[in-house]
Amino acid sequence: MTDLRESKADIWIGGGLLAFCAFAAWRTLRIKQGFTTSIAGPSFVPWIMVGATAVLAAFLILRALRRQRAAGADGVAVIAMPDRRTLLRLGVFALLLAAYSAAFFPIGYLPATLVTFVLGLLLIGERKPWLLIGFPVVMTGAVYLAFTELLSVWLP
């Protein structure tokens, strides 16, 4: 675990939110007005929300800057961040889930789940062979049978 100053994180998040607002504003301009005669058209609420997000993001940055200035000997609030290795593991895990999402429908539940299960267990540090192979096989099969046979849920 490494510590990250909360104020520093807030400045980055606020900046990211402002950039997101700029993008959202550009997309909101492209919303068609439809046939409504009311001033509250399809883009009315989105505009309010984009504006409010931008204002609050600016507040977040200002608050973080003020806290940074005020923080002295009393210490600062920190966020416990995973170390680089764990962060990398989390990133790879997210990619594995994205790949599983892509494979779930075209390849089918059974092979996609089995491969993801084994790779996932490997990634999070499971090394016992009977757990690494045996548990995914039993679990994947049991879940498949339970959903398709007992609950009548179709799985690819």
Binding site: P42, V45, T53
Partner: protein
């Protein structure tokens, strides 16, 4: 007589089994640190597909009730709250476990949860129909004001009001993706057909509350697990019960009242009940050292919230807390819209839910008392296997709702977002409630504006609308007032 006939399906064997299994599943999920009742309900919503509404919804309610109760297990045995609702139980539960009285502490927690649950179930069955009767008079402006009031829940749900507000507003913005509710114009779909009806609600919830927790679990893997205390005896003595009776009654009442107020939730209720029990005790110095009334107060309060939080959900269509927000997903899957009309169109389901709440509370008591000796074994489940099993359930759950592969990406996206939000102090609950109330607020605001010919003052001038707007203002100002009062109190002390 008619009401009794609505209760008959509850006593069918398959329905009773489902409620019992849901309660047991919730209890186990709640007992495992890091897995919450919210996650349990979100994860197991897909199991309700093939079930009748009464069966499916009561199974989810069983998970909710069992999950909130189950949180006390790791609070008492591990000093790690299983759910946020049980955080206050640690104060007296763990010292008791250290003294070798874990069984008695768990026994008291079970009895207190049952009493709290039953009290609030009675209030649910009594109050919800009355409230629904009033809500039937509501039009678009009233619903807009009600949704706005519900959205101010965000202020109370988040420790950091600014970050809570950002989460809520982002939630409303996300809820605008897809076809506009009035004119059908597409918004932010980027030409992807799968987004025409917006982000699918249940996959988003599964991502926010279940998959995000998987990332958190992966972060923790490798950290040393705390030692688990052995459990002996389970029944509190008559003297313990006598000493705790005041705390039990007060906790049940506080939990019920707090549950009815949208957004406050079990965590708030248990802390308030704990403080109240200590304030009114003749021996306040014993609190925090392993004192039975401390456990009685927190556990009766947090389980009293469960049924009470269903009151605003069923009667007004506004979730009482974050778990009931997720429960809304279960109602939607059954093709039901919570709100006053449900009492007229589907009275058998409403009465079935009332009865199911009682039944789940009783199952919770039976399983709770029976499992006390084996709780320490439940906590030894291998973390890695559990984590990957949750992933598989998340995927099946997200896919099986619409059989749409796009929902899997939605779930993974919301999972990563949820983890990030959790990490940097943004409220996932606020985002979730905004996803529900955002469309309700927008549609009713625009409908109201159309009816009032774009005259905002005329639209908002009804007495009920004004009442809700006043409550909204109060709810927004309350954290500031409370902070000022606390600061003044500290100065005085």
């Amino acid at each position: 007589m008619e009401t009794l006939s609505y209760l008959a399906p509850l006593f069918q064997l398959d329905v009773m089994w489902t409620i019992a299994l849901g309660t047991l599943g919730g209890l186990i999920i709640g007992a495992l640190p890091g897995l919450t009742a919210t996650m349990g309900v979100a994860l197991l919503i897909p199991l309700t597909f093939g079930m009748t509404p009464v069966m499916g919804l009561n199974m989810l309610i069983g998970i909710y009730i069992g999950g909130i109760y189950g949180g006390c297990v790791s609070s008492i045995l591990l000093r790690t709250p299983g759910t946020p609702a049980s955080a206050a139980t640690v104060l007296d539960g763990y010292p008791m476990a250290q003294r070798g009285e874990a069984g008695k502490a768990l026994g008291m927690a079970t009895i207190a949860s049952t009493i709290g649950g039953l009290v609030s179930a009675v209030v649910l069955a009594t109050l919800a129909p009355q409230l629904a009767g009033v809500a039937l008079q509501f039009g678009a402006p009233e619903y807009f004001a009600l949704a706005l009031f519900g959205l101010t829940i965000i202020a109370s749900l988040s420790g950091d009001i600014l970050k809570g507000a950002i989460s809520g507003i982002l939630g409303i913005l996300i809820s605008t993706v897809g076809a506009d509710p009035i004119s059908g114009v597409m918004r932010y779909t980027f030409g992807v057909q799968g987004f025409a009806s917006g982000f699918a609600f249940t996959p988003a919830l599964i991502g926010l509350f279940a998959l995000s927790e998987v990332f958190t679990q992966i972060e923790r893997i490798g950290l040393r697990e705390p030692a688990i205390t052995l459990v002996k005896n389970r029944w509190p003595s008559r003297a313990d019960m006598h000493e705790s009776r005041g705390a039990l009654v007060r906790g049940s009442i506080i939990g019920t009242i707090i549950g009815i107020i949208p957004g406050t939730g079990s965590g708030t209720a248990s802390w308030i009940a704990y403080n109240e029990a200590r304030r009114t005790s003749k021996t306040p110095e014993k609190f925090g050292t392993g004192h039975m009334p401390g456990i009685a107060a927190t556990e009766s309060a947090n389980n009293a919230v469960c049924a009470a939080a269903l009151i605003p959900l069923l009667a007004l269509g506004i979730p009482g807390d974050v778990v009931t927000a997720v429960l809304m997903g279960g109602l939607m899957i059954q093709g039901l819209a919570p709100g006053p009309l449900l009492f007229q169109t589907n009275p058998e389901i409403v009465v079935g839910i009332f009865g199911g709440t009682f039944m789940a509370t009783i199952f919770m008591f039976i399983f709770g008392m029976a499992l006390i000796p084996v709780f320490s074994r439940i906590l030894k489940v291998p973390r890695r296997l559990l984590t990957m099993s949750i992933v598989i359930f998340c995927f099946i759950g997200a896919f099986s709702i619409n059989l749409n592969p796009v929902d899997l990406y939605t779930m993974v996206g919301f999972g990563v977002l949820g983890w990030g939000m959790q990490k940097f102090g943004f409220s996932q609950a606020a985002l979730c409630i905004a996803l529900i109330l955002g469309p309700m607020m927008e549609a009713n605001f625009r409908r109201g504006m159309l009816q009032a010919g774009d005259d905002l003052i005329a639209m908002l001038s009804g007495p009920i609308t004004l009442l809700f707007l006043a409550l909204t203002a109060l709810s927004l100002c309350w954290p500031m007032i409370a902070a000022r009062r606390a600061a003044r109190r500290t100065q005085t002390n």
